[in-house]
Amino acid sequence: MTNHWIDIRNADVVLMMGANPAENHPVSFKYVLEAKDRGATLISVDPRFTRTSAKADIYAPLRSGTDIPFLGGMIRYILENNLYFDEYVRHYTNASFLVSDDFQMPGELDGLFSGYNAEKRNYDKASWSFQRNEDGTPKTDPSLQDPRCVFQLMKKHFSRYTPEVVSDITGTPQDQLLKVYEAYAATGKRDKVATILYAMGWTQHTVGTQNIRAMAMIQLLLGNVGMAGGGVNALRGESNVQGSTDYGLLFHILPGYLPTPNAGQPDLAAYIAAHTPKTNDPQSANWWGNRGKYITSLLRATYDQSLTAEEGFGYDLMPKLDLGQNGSWLMLFDRMHKGGIKGFFAWGQNPACSGSNAGKVREALAKLDWMVTANLFDNETASFWKGPGVDPSKIDTEVFFLPAAVSFEKEGSVTNSGRWAQWRYEAAKPLGNSRPDLEMINDLQFRVRRLYQAEGGAFPEPILKLSWNYGFKMPDGSIPHIDVHAVAKEINGYFLEDKEIAGKLYKKGDPVPGFALLQADGSTSSGNWLYCNSYADKGNLMARRGKNDPSGMGLYPEWAWCWPVNRRIIYNRAAVDMNGKPWDAKRPVVWWTGNGWAGDVPDGPWKPMSDAEGKKPFIMNADGVANLFAPGLNEGPFPEHYEALECPLDKNPLHSERINPTIRLFSAGAVGEDVDAYYSCDQRYPYVATTYRVTEHWQTGVMTRNTPWLLELQPSNFVELSVELGQEKGIKSGDWCVVSSGRGQVEAVAVVTRRFRPFKVQGMTIHQVGLPYHYGWHTPKAGDSANLLTPTVGDANTMIPETKAFMVNIEKKRG
């Protein structure tokens, strides 16, 4: 989230699309309804009428996988009707930048941008660039009239997304489409603001990143980013998934969103050079210009501090990706399926149910030598060797089960979607032999270390030189009980030597008060620069529970701690005009008092932009402004509609590229015997399907299926379908059905409902069904995972699997 949960109440329009917050984030609805109490319009866009739709003022259905046409149509509506926030767009975005003359768009190239390489399924992005002056700054046309400026190109690109065209792709009736556009676009005024709440309904598509890009563009055109009640807000699906992303859970990032080093960056200097953007614009803060300080401080926190600058502070010890290597989920399990992975820690997860194409995942687990599962309950992954259709005598994988403590049985921080790191305490002792994850990792570290000490082995240094000073040490160096506060303090970071900065002396061992003081010379450590300031000179700020709200807008600056540096709304310098005056006087986030900023912690201390020393508001971009034209993504600088890998149309209604031209195809052929086969426009699988969650269960249900009170509410797998499809297939509510895809089948109880309705698309009637993915064979009579149906294919940028749009068949269960 750029903003935070409470801030939803400040919005004038709340768009819930690609998310179902009433069901999956019920507490958020406290704030959604508070917005409604203030007179806000609630909009729900979803293939299915959900519990969120039930509370919305406007509901619009759309066929799964067609969000870009829906949003592209809104961009066109905003531009054609001049509803954008002109001053914001001119000054705070790259709308005025001139794009290279070589750049061409899908309207000209039948669905492709310039630079496509069909063989490699990727783009040479050379033409997706700006015309630049000699000093490297971009050439601009402040009047926004030049046909090569971003604004005009954007207008031309989206002019193709007329309501007629959009409606014929999405299946959304035109009047509802326009109702949404009208309500949302009305917030392009300086004192109106709209927020978008999205979740996996946008990300889990082969065009997931571009779905969000399209919405970010709308928020920029309407001047809604940085504002109270605005922003682009991802509703995270687990209590601490924001925290785990912040700490480098994913393969391509280290803590603090520092890119994982690769084989092409042999030393620290090369890494820093590759990842430190430059600018000659005096008004650009170019915050990533500080990259060297952050990676160096991370290395100082990670490895033995005896390592010197000449040794890269341990950079050589850091694992590196091969050039072009992708270590995402689908790739890992593909490799495991091919026998390329020996051992696997399934830590707090249940891939046998959560993984897309779960049948492939289950086969892959059988090819491991060993697997360790750390979980609260036995589950389909830990017991895959005795699952349906599996002969335990033929499984060689050795499985270890580590019983884990529940979140309430351990102390530590949890970071929510609004970036608040909140400290929590042990409410009860762990049950039986179960242990907190941190204790297990501590033990594991010492055992592996001892093995390396005793046996040497290949490349022992990354383990032997790991710094591990998290508590009282025994004579042999081991730590019997790891101290979570010591970990949190190291994440914040220390001065490693006496250092004078701006006239102030910081002593060796002092905590670093904020990331602006982190150093590139090795004199500071920080396990995650974003969290520097969370546990510093003023103690553990994450443990704060102050209820003061001087803003009156729910910022609560003394409640817990928020990254970065307790800034509650990021990009908040875009909430003011060039002189530092709030666009919206009723909902000021920050304002310039003449000699400083007041309100929320501002996005940097510099003067407002009208001052020569002032800075532009989007400080993480080298040009200082937000990207309406974003050359970094793989499928193009503007979002373009491509159908899902499996879809009911044999042709993209807009052009000749049916699917995203840059996705990785796992299957050799379109239809075949292999485990990754996909079946688009195939009579055997004529219905669009999507998966989702319900309020009553969580993720694959390992916790909730083992909570009988919750199982009572939603006892088994179900499939929702329209009354019309029910009639066509002779299926009544309550009938057990078999839902099948090219990869597997599951049994589910039919919920025949008017909340699903057939879509009219391209002169056809298209039916869609939906299933939750909460169930698994381990729970008697509950049915198995809906992920047995979902495909092995991911987004072209993130590789998140496309589980929100695929093709199935449904039949009433015989016998």
Partner: protein, 262 residues
């Protein structure tokens, strides 16, 4: 003590069913094995182990489609049919807050309350004793709100001073259900449509048969009982005690002749 009440605003309900689960947790009610019957609604109705339940009501179609939610529970009537009909004093009673609670030790398992309730609320548990929502008597007596209210994330469920809650709802322009019916319900609703849409009676009333029982037959019965006692006393005084026959058995024992062959 000023009368307390639930104010239940169905326009705020997202059917998350935290109320159902929180109630079961606080009151230590057992989970039940259910099946999906083609609906989210489960269990299908109130049970001895389920004191409040969300009903899912699908209405209309296409653009007119509505999905309404209803929190069904004991209405804690001011004029409570269950109390009225209960022959065992104290088995069902009004708490000082005005809520209708029960004491299973005094329940005589007669099931009259089931018929006396206009809302089909009381259930009998495995011990054959009455059970239903009691507004968490143990919580409210200690100044806490009922468990369902505590768990509700959207302020659909509120609990407090009845007059104040109703006044607040009216000030916000809402119409309330249950303000004066049955001397005022202890569960007052804000609905988005007619009560019947939510499976509620438009004009709830205690079944007429109950009045017959409570106001006619029961008093008559009591009269009849004492009348019979009086007659017996008169008989005793007049004719003296019943004499035993020559085998030492009372005459009544003939009503239970020994079984054949015994």
């Amino acid at each position: 003590m000023a009368r307390k009440a639930f104010l239940i605003d169905m326009s705020r309900c997202i059917a998350c069913r935290s109320c159902q689960v929180a109630c079961k947790q606080w009151n230590k009610l057992e989970p039940e094995a259910t099946v999906n019957r083609g609906s989210y609604e489960n269990p299908p109705q109130l049970t001895p182990q389920l004191y409040n339940q969300i009903q899912f009501i699908e209405q209309g179609q296409g653009d007119e489609l509505r999905w309404l939610f209803m929190n069904q529970r004991c209405m804690h009537c001011g004029d409570a049919g269950c109390i009225k009909v209960c022959p065992s004093a104290g088995a069902l009673y009004h708490t000082p807050e005005g809520m209708v609670a029960f004491n299973q030790d005094k329940c005589i398992e007669c099931h009259y309350c089931v018929n006396g309730c206009p809302f089909d609320v009381p259930r009998y548990d495995r011990k054959k004793k009455v059970t239903k929502c009691h507004a968490c008597v143990d919580r409210i007596a200690n100044g806490l709100v009922p468990a369902c209210v505590k768990a509700c994330p959207t302020q659909t469920l509120r609990f407090g001073d009845r007059d104040a809650l109703i006044a607040e709802a009216k000030a916000a322009g809402k119409t309330v259900y249950g303000e004066s019916e049955l001397k005022g319900l202890g569960a007052v609703y804000i609905l988005e449509d007619a009560p019947q849409t939510y499976n509620l009676p438009a004009k709830p009333a205690i079944p007429a048969s109950i009045f017959l029982w409570k106001d006619v037959i029961k008093p008559l019965g009591i009269l009849g009982f004492w009348g019979a006692m009086g007659a017996a006393l008169l008989h005793y005084v007049t004719f003296g005690p019943k004499k035993l026959d020559e085998y030492g058995r009372r005459h009544d024992d003939d009503l239970n002749p020994p079984e054949k062959g015994a």
